[in-house]
Structures are given as structure tokens and as C-alpha cells.
């Protein structure tokens, strides 16, 4: 490889942040098993957050700074992927809503603000169904990323949050970044815009506190590894395997919550994927599996957040 005269500068072996805790100051180092046990309302042990991500993937994708997973992959105009994603907002979501209603699930809707603005009927139907809206950025081609000018990102966050508040009439306290991608400024910008919790950081099975320039934000980890799109679209596992994986995860966390204290089970779903005719029964099987347990509390993310803070105050 490199010869001696090509060696890296010695500062490649400097480690200025090699210290106790993290190499950043956003949140404190803490092991889940070492924390005081949490109990959810009614003495339940497992809080269940069902998140429905509603997304707009623009046909004229810029891919800045990278092409988002599940976005356009073919030369312009990539009609197949554009319309297949749009399927979720036209057809898939209505199948998903039926399935949720059949199991009395109160979901959390993470919706791209541009989609919410352009589809008032969809927003109205989601409101009638009931559930919490959280911000999901502008669209799936407006990413938040390191190196993005802060003015540009500040405008993007504000436009996304303001638009969603206006069209839903809800306070909009939560945020899920497109592709869960952030810049070093994102968390500060979210807090500045009155966002109370962020779903992007998948490093825990409970909420935890995070510092920003304008006060605390709570991290509400929305698991990636059992997402429908991660298992079926990224890993290319079968629908049946996805069902097994979600059930196994749920069973394990339920058992751990009974033994060690409250846990959060967060399942993210995409109507363009799981709302297909051949997959919807798999979602129904999953929802049936997680329903009806005496130790389970199913609620929108914001209610789980509030219960977590109340439990912390009482502890």
C-alpha cells in the first residue's frame, strides 16, 4: 500500500475525545440495565409505539448528499419507483388504517410536510382515524446532513414543522428525519422549533435526554432493525421472516420488561411496502400478536414521552 513517504500525518493517531463517556456532548453515557426501572401507566411494562411513515419521493431526485434508500434508482424519469412509493399514500395507507382500527391501535403518523400540504384528504382521514402527527422533514429528497449550510437547514426544519402544524392543527412535538440522517446542527434546530422529541437515534430501548443549545430534547429511539423497509427492502428477507423477526423482538422485549423494568417497543411501517395486497395480512398477523397482552400499553409516541417524564419525576 502506502510507502514510507506517503504515510499519514501523525495527527491521525491523536485522539482528543478519548475520555469517559462519549466523543460528543449530546447525551450522557448510561447502560440500560443500570437505570432505575420504569413503569408505564397502569403498571404496564412494555410501551408499544406503532409508527406509520408517509413519504413523498420526488421524481426529480437530486440525491444530495446521497440517494435516499428506496428512492429513485433508474435514469430519469424513474416512473416505477416514483409511482410505487406513491401507491402507499393512495392505496396502502387505507389498508393499513383498516388493520390498525381492527386492533384498536392508536398510531403515530410521521409525514413529510410537503405530502401533508398537498394531500388534504389524506390528512383529514388520518385525523379522523386518530393518532399523533410528527414531522418527517420536507420530503425524502430533502436530507439533513453534515456540511449542509445551517441557514438552509434552519429554513428546512422551520418550513417542515410550521407546515405540518398548520395543516394538521396539532402541536407536532416529534421529529423523524428523512432516512434518519442529521447534521451536527439538527438537534439544536429541532429544539429551537419547539420539537420535544427526536426518533432518529436508535441506540436504546427507552427514551433518554439529549442536550441542545436551547434546552433538553428527548430521544425516542424508533428501531430500524425491525422496520418493514429495513427487513424486506434492504435485507430482502421474506414477508414471513419479517413477521417472525417482529414477533421475536416483541416477545423478547416483553419478557425483559417484566424482569427488568419498562421497555419501549417501536415499530416503523411504510404503507408503500406493507400496504401491498400480499403483505397486509403479515401486518395484521403482527398487530394481532402484539395486541391483548395485559402488560402492554399501546400509545402514540408523545403520550409515551409524557408518561416517561412523569415516571422519572415520581422516581
Amino acid at each position: 500500500m502506502a510507502s514510507k513517504d506517503m504515510a499519514l500525518n501523525d495527527d491521525y493517531l491523536d485522539y482528543p475525545l478519548r475520555r469517559h463517556g462519549y466523543d460528543h456532548d449530546r447525551y450522557e453515557w448510561s447502560m440500560l440495565s443500570e437505570r432505575a426501572p420504569v413503569s408505564w401507566p397502569g403498571g404496564k411494562t412494555l410501551a408499544v409505539w406503532i409508527n406509520i411513515s408517509l413519504q413523498f419521493y420526488p421524481l426529480n431526485q437530486r440525491g444530495e448528499p446521497f440517494k435516499v434508500p428506496n428512492g429513485m434508482t433508474m435514469p430519469y424519469p424513474d416512473l416505477r419507483h416514483f409511482s410505487l412509493r406513491d401507491y402507499g399514500n393512495r392505496v396502502g395507507i387505507y389498508r393499513v388504517l383498516k388493520a390498525l382500527a381492527a386492533h384498536n391501535i392508536t398510531p403515530t403518523f410521521a409525514i413529510n410536510a410537503q405530502l401533508a400540504e398537498q394531500t388534504p384528504y389524506l390528512v383529514q382521514r388520518l385525523k379522523e382515524h386518530g393518532g399523533e402527527f410528527i414531522a418527517h422533514g420536507w420530503n425524502m429528497d430533502h436530507l439533513h446532513y453534515g456540511g449542509q449550510p445551517i441557514e438552509e437547514e434552519a429554513e428546512l426544519v422551520k418550513r417542515s414543522v410550521d407546515t405540518l402544524r398548520r395543516v394538521t392543527g396539532q402541536p407536532v412535538r416529534g421529529w423523524l428525519s428523512p432516512a434518519k440522517h442529521q447534521s451536527f446542527n439538527t438537534l439544536d434546530l429541532l429544539a429551537e422549533n419547539g420539537i420535544a422529541y427526536c426518533a432518529d437515534w436508535v441506540n436504546d430501548d427507552l427514551p433518554y435526554s439529549c442536550e441542545t443549545k436551547t434546552g433538553n430534547l428527548t430521544m425516542m429511539p424508533l428501531a430500524t432493525e425491525i422496520e418493514d423497509q429495513f427487513v424486506m427492502s434492504q435485507n430482502l428477507h421474506s414477508e414471513d421472516s419479517w413477521v417472525t423477526q417482529v414477533k421475536d423482538a416483541f416477545d423478547f422485549l416483553l419478557e425483559e420488561s417484566r424482569e427488568q423494568g419498562g421497555r419501549l417497543f417501536a415499530l416503523n411501517l411504510h404503507p408503500w411496502l406493507v400496504g401491498q395486497p400480499h403483505r397486509i395480512a403479515c401486518l395484521e398477523e403482527v398487530l394481532a400478536h402484539i395486541s391483548g397482552h395485559p402488560d402492554v400499553w399501546q400509545a402514540p409516541a408523545g403520550e409515551i414521552l409524557d408518561a416517561f417524564h412523569q415516571a422519572a419525576e415520581q422516581a
Binding site: L13, H181, D205
Partner: protein, 317 residues
């Protein structure tokens, strides 16, 4: 660049002196939990990007953080349950960042071996002096925090130079004599320990670590379904156990607390541990214990066998 690494000779699997592990065991079984630290904003290396996207790469960083915040304890509880002491492949900066994890492993008499400083600092492009300094830092850090003389090496993020094994053996000798720097996990050419020649002539071996059974390779690269991983592990064991009656084999499960300990995957890992440790002729050991035993009982015979095979090949060729 070399056409071939040149640190071991061809040595056919079907013509070797018989290995018998302690207690007459057929398989020496070890689990190597990688306990790693990936930096949020590491420096760039000209040969390899630490993250696929502009920093901060929140998806990649945060799932690895899940491993340390949540996954480690789950995996440790399972290893306790099945009587396995881990042999930790350690990003040694973990000693500074998360000493609480190190303490838990120490209390269980686990082994620590070097996996570099951070898994986001690569060997590519380092001068010999720089690589030696990095390896020395890693071995000294392990000693300072655990009292252990580091025996094994798995280069950070499996990034190597042509000299990596030489340097590790030399620094180990300088710091700890024949207690340190005795095995490498960086070679995947065999299911038994094999002698590896290093330029200092130190008695040094390759320890089977298995890329094929590595949970990150299985899950993140090959995208295997969780329950299939349990099947793979059991099949892998079955064959090594069968062959181990003829001559002892080594099985390693290299794990990552952010892969194997996820709620949808941990059952598969437990199923494999339960199956493997439920067999009578299994020596559940650490990397160092296997290396020490091999060096004491089979290393010299192995060298003789390798030379004899080479001589036969020359006569017949």
C-alpha cells in the same frame, strides 16, 4: 504489493498430527465479543471512508451505541448462563469511554485482546513507526486497565499492512515476553491453529476466528435471517465436532453487541449456545487458553509436519 502473504506454508488438512484438546475434547469453542467504539466524527483516511455518508452518520453510530448501552449486558447474561467466558476483541478506547463495561468483563475473568484504538482508525497509510506506536498504545492500554498481557490481535476494522503481524508479535515480546503477542485472528485460512512465521522468529500462531460465523458478516453483509444464523452455527459446529474425533478443531463465534443482542436476534444466538455447550466433548475456552495449549503441545509437531510435507512435495515435484 505481494502476490501472496507468505507467512504460512501450504499444509493439507488431511495430513496433520492429531490434536486432542484438554479432557479429550474434540472442539475447542470460544466466543469473541467485539466491543467496539466508532467515532462520530473520525478523521478521513485516504484508503477507506469511516462512514458511508457525511458525518454525523447517525444511523451507523447510534446502532453501534445501542450495542454498548443495551446489547452488551444481554450478551453477557447469555454467556454467563452457558458458562462461556468471552474473549473480547476490544477497541481499546472503550477502556476510557466505557470503563463500566470493562469492569463487568474483568469480574468474569474474560480475556481482552487488541482490536486497535477505534474501529474508525485504519492501518492503511500508517508508516511502520506509526503502526507500531498504535499497536503498542493498544496493548499498553489493555494492560493498564485490566492487568492483562494482551495475547491476541484483530486489526481495527480488519485493516492491515504487510507488517501488521510482525509488529504485533514484536511489540508483544517487548512488553510481555512470551506472554504477549502470541496469536492473530486476522487470517481465515484454517479450522485449526497454525504456525505463522513472523520476522522476529517468535512462536506465533493463527487462531481460527471465522469470518463466516461473524454476526456482522452474516447479518450486515450477507443479510441472513436471524433464525437461519442459528441453523448455520449449529451446522458449522456439527461438522467440526465430527471431524474433531480425528483431530481437534476450533470453533469461534465472533459477535458484536449491536448485532447479536438485538431483540429479534438474541434467541438465535441462545439456541446455538445451548446446542454447542450441550455436547460433552467441547472445551469451552478463551483465545489465549487455546493458543497456550496449542503452543505447548502441538506447535513444534506442527512445524515438523509442515517441513515434512514440504520436503515430500519437493521430492515428488
Amino acid at each position: 504489493m505481494k502476490e501472496s502473504l507468505g507467512v504460512y506454508d501450504y499444509w493439507a488438512y488431511d495430513q496433520r498430527p492429531k490434536i486432542t484438546w484438554p479432557g479429550g475434547a474434540k472442539v475447542a469453542f470460544w466466543v469473541a465479543p467485539n466491543i467496539e467504539y466508532y467515532e462520530l466524527d473520525p478523521p478521513q483516511n485516504p484508503s477507506r471512508k469511516p462512514w458511508p455518508h457525511p458525518h454525523p452518520s447517525v444511523p451507523g453510530y447510534s446502532i453501534r451505541d445501542y450495542g454498548n448501552r443495551v446489547g452488551h449486558q444481554r450478551q453477557m447474561a447469555l454467556l454467563d448462563k452457558y458458562g462461556v467466558r468471552g474473549s473480547v476483541s476490544l477497541s481499546v478506547a472503550l477502556c476510557e469511554h466505557h470503563p463500566e463495561i470493562i469492569q463487568m468483563c474483568k469480574e468474569r475473568d474474560w480475556e481482552f485482546f487488541s482490536h486497535g484504538i477505534y474501529n474508525t482508525r485504519y492501518t492503511y497509510g500508517l508508516s511502520e513507526a506509526q503502526e507500531r506506536a498504535m499497536i503498542r498504545d493498544s496493548m499498553e492500554t489493555i494492560h493498564r486497565h485490566t492487568g492483562q498481557a494482551c495475547a491476541g490481535y484483530l486489526a481495527p476494522a480488519l485493516s492491515h499492512s504487510e507488517r501488521t503481524l510482525d509488529l504485533f508479535a514484536e511489540v508483544g515480546e517487548e512488553l510481555f515476553g512470551d506472554k504477549g503477542g502470541i496469536y492473530t485472528c486476522d487470517l481465515f485460512h484454517d479450522d485449526q491453529p497454525t504456525p505463522v512465521s513472523v520476522r522476529s522468529g517468535k512462536r506465533f500462531i493463527s487462531m481460527p476466528y471465522s469470518l463466516e460465523m461473524n454476526d456482522t458478516i452474516v447479518y450486515a453483509v450477507n443479510k441472513v435471517e436471524p433464525r437461519q444464523y442459528a441453523t448455520m452455527l449449529k451446522r458449522h459446529f456439527d461438522r467440526l465436532y465430527l471431524e474433531g474425533a480425528e483431530s481437534g478443531t476450533v470453533m469461534c463465534i465472533p459477535t458484536h453487541n449491536y448485532q447479536v443482542s438485538c431483540p429479534h436476534r438474541i434467541k438465535a444466538f441462545e439456541e446455538a449456545l445451548d446446542y454447542i455447550t450441550g455436547h460433552p466433548d467441547v472445551w469451552v475456552a478463551t483465545g489465549r487458553e487455546i493458543a497456550d495449549y496449542y503452543l505447548a503441545h502441538y506447535y513444534d509437531a506442527a512445524l515438523d509436519s509442515i517441513q515434512a510435507q514440504a520436503a515430500t512435495a519437493r521430492r515428488e515435484g
